[in-house]
């Protein structure tokens, strides 16, 4: 059992699966010799050769498109998009092809591919390097969208994503890559893809989040506990398909919910969870469902970044308001 940070956990999961399944290959910009700009693929080319760890030409559309062709022909490509702001050129292939190939051919061909990308802000990166593009994918039928929030979950969820017989968009919170380490057993054990994880139990309010903002959510939960407010913290982990059951079960108990995410609020995936509560949890709700998300503004450059990202202060404020309501 090794102490790994999140990016190392990603690396271990890739290595494990490449070792055990010859159909798995990795492709993307600078993933080979350089080991990826965040080092997620470091060592893989030396170990598995340049034919299975491909430095592609600089073209995201073709990275996604060729991965689809590979997947249809029996490989299991794991494609890396270097930064989340460059994922947009892949969307045509993901929406029109990856997510539809199985249905289009009635199961004759399928598309077991993973599209990985670092995602989110908080590292003072240049323009376009801090996007949270999940809502571009969560309305797309036939797709899975996964966001890990710890080294352990990154390892287990990525293994599950690679093994999944259908396409998975896997968004790795850049801010967590090196934030902390955790014991991760490199035992090839996957985590289930379709469930939320309960990170902290509590009966006063349910805090729902995913990815990097779980850091602030947990810090807020600590502060609130000191005030006597016991928050339950849920990590959605797999946004699509969404495990609304777990969220509903929790909110039925707590009667209150605050949803936290880093993407812009309007049309963000938090809305789906709030909508699920408005339909299936209405009678349990003791207070309005608040969202703490980025403002509906362009991700600012570094000098305003910390004013943009949802903070512990904003979460605590939303929780207090939610607790006051009755």
């Amino acid at each position: 059992m090794a102490e790994l940070n999140l990016v190392e956990a990603v690396n271990h999961a890739l290595a494990y699966e490449m070792e055990h399944d010859p159909a798995v290959l990795v492709l993307g910009e600078d993933v080979g010799v350089n080991g990826g700009v965040f080092r997620a693929t470091v060592g893989l080319q030396a170990r598995f050769g340049p034919a299975r760890v491909l430095d592609t030409p600089l073209a995201e559309t073709a990275i996604a498109g060729t991965a689809i062709g590979m997947a249809a022909m029996g490989l299991k490509p794991v494609a890396e998009i270097q930064f989340s702001g460059f994922i947009y050129p892949t969307i045509d292939h993901i929406v029109n092809h990856a997510s539809r190939l199985r249905n289009r051919t009635r199961g004759r061909l399928s598309c077991p591919m993973v599209l990985r990308t670092p995602s989110g802000g908080g590292i003072h990166a240049p323009e376009h390097h801090s996007e949270n593009p999940e809502a571009l994918f969560t309305n797309v039928p036939g797709l899975r969208v996964v966001v890990p929030s710890s080294p352990q979950r990154a390892y287990g969820l990525l293994l599950a994503a690679i093994r999944d017989p259908d396409p998975v968009v896997f968004l790795e919170p850049t801010r967590l890559y090196r934030l902390f380490k955790q014991e991760v057993a490199d035992d090839g054990e996957a985590l289930p893809l379709d469930v939320c994880f309960t990170l902290r139990a509590g009966n006063d309010i349910t805090l729902v989040s995913w990815g990097a903002t779980l850091q602030e959510v947990q810090a807020a939960a600590d502060l609130l506990a000191a005030e006597g407010v016991m928050a339950e913290v849920l990590d959605v982990a797999t946004l699509k398909p969404l495990d609304m059951e777990t969220i509903l079960e929790s909110v039925t108990r707590t009667g209150r919910c605050v949803i936290v995410h880093e993407a812009a609020q309007t049309g963000g995936f938090g809305a789906e969870i709030a909508a699920g509560l408005a339909e299936h949890g209405l009678y349990s709700l003791l207070a309005p469902v608040r969202r703490v998300a980025a403002y509906d503004v362009v991700v600012p450059l570094a000098r305003l970044e910390s004013q943009y990202l949802p903070s512990v202060e904003r979460i605590v404020d939303a929780v207090r308001k939610t607790m006051e309501a009755s």
Binding site: A59, T61, G65, A72, T105, R106, R108, P141, G142
Partner: protein, 362 residues
């Protein structure tokens, strides 16, 4: 100033419109036993097309894209492919698909609005019809890479139109395949039109074949209405790709004699007379002229062939029309390998409203 690189684009035609050989023919073209199945396949495609258009006109088929006048491109290329090669078609390549074993009723089902039409009983690994223009070039490049990685002697053969060569996917896919030296053959069916946009306004490039130069690979032009030239060029490119020589591009110059699709009315944007003139160059006539010269063909056999093809098409149409629409569950059952539990409620709703829908549309 020094010249560091030179390129050229060559054009190949073996048969003139009268079926006369302009150059020494490749071996296969001297063998009626090879040519007659191609002749039949072109006929079948054309008869299928006219039947499909008739079905559309009578409300029995959705929008349909015919290959009228371009039969030699699909048939010629497919006839050079090996069974284990993989076809990555656009939406106008049923001529090639039929030769690969896709059933006519499958193609009808697809255009008739049923996904099961893409579940080919025949070439199980061939890609389905691709509507988003040029995206299939990337898929073909990826497929070709898979063959290379597994050291399989297979080639991915991709079709696209003249208009499609303007799209980034064409160029990116080509560049990947070339960088990877992957076994891919790209056929540009240059039928001179992208709906209403003529070839000249699509690009300032004088040939489409020269676009291959951008990826560092060879591009050639052939007369796309001369099935001998098409098959010959395809065979050369396939052999080279299979032998590890990397991808190639063939621009097959043809002409779209029909409307873009049944949803189109080409008289809005092109001159009927100009189209009329193109009929002199069409590929079936050309091969028939050549076969007549070879004395491998006659009016009686022609009549027999048309009858036989018509019967085959009619049988396919019947099979198509007899296929019941899919159940509402079909929307759910192949979405994922296993339906996620989160979707069960929606499936229940769909079942509850099955055939009780249609208010306001349908």
């Amino acid at each position: 100033m020094t010249s560091v690189s030179q390129f050229q684009v060559d054009f190949t035609r073996f048969l003139d419109p009268q079926g006369e050989a302009l150059a020494p023919l490749p071996d296969f073209a001297q063998d009626p036993a090879v040519l007659l199945p191609l002749y039949r396949a072109m006929h079948l495609t054309r008869i299928f097309d006219s039947k499909a258009i008739a079905l559309q006109r009578t409300g029995k088929l959705g929008t349909f894209a015919s290959a009228l006048g371009q039969e030699a491109v699909g048939v010629g290329v497919a006839s050079a492919m090996a069974g284990e090669d993989v076809l990555v078609p656009s939406y106008r390549d049923h001529g090639a698909q039929f030769l690969r074993g896709v059933k006519m009723e499958e193609v009808l089902l697809y255009w008739g609005g049923d996904e099961s039409g893409s579940n080919y009983a025949g070439p199980r690994s061939d890609f389905p019809v691709c509507v988003p223009i040029a995206t299939q070039v990337c898929h073909a490049a990826g497929a070709a890479y898979a063959f290379k990685l597994r050291e399989e002697a297979r080639v991915a053969v991709c079709f696209l139109g003249d208009g499609a060569t303007s799209k980034g996917d064409f160029y990116e896919g080509l560049n990947f395949a070339a960088a990877w030296q992957a076994p891919m053959v790209v056929i540009i069916n240059n039928n001179q039109w992208a709906i209403s946009v003529p070839r000249e306004r699509q690009t300032a490039a004088r040939t489409l074949a020269q676009k291959a130069i951008a990826a560092g690979i060879e591009g050639v032009q052939v007369d796309g209405n001369d099935i001998v030239a098409v098959r010959h060029a395809a065979q050369q490119a396939l052999d080279k790709a299979r032998d590890g020589g990397g991808p190639a591009v063939i621009e097959a110059i043809s002409y779209r004699l029909g409307d873009h699709t049944t949803a189109d009315d080409a008289t809005r944007y092109r001159d009927a007379e100009a189209v009329e003139k193109q009929w002199a160059f069409e590929p079936i006539l050309r091969l028939r002229n050549y076969l007549l010269r070879l004395e491998a063909w006659d009016a009686k056999r022609e009549e027999q062939l048309v009858k036989e093809c018509t019967e085959a098409v009619n049988a396919a149409v019947e099979a198509y029309l007899a296929t019941p629409p899919p159940p509402v569950t079909a929307m759910f059952d192949q979405l994922f390998a296993t339906l996620p539990p989160a979707m069960q409620a929606q499936l229940d709703t769909a079942l509850r409203f099955e055939n009780k829908q249609g208010g306001g549309h349908g």
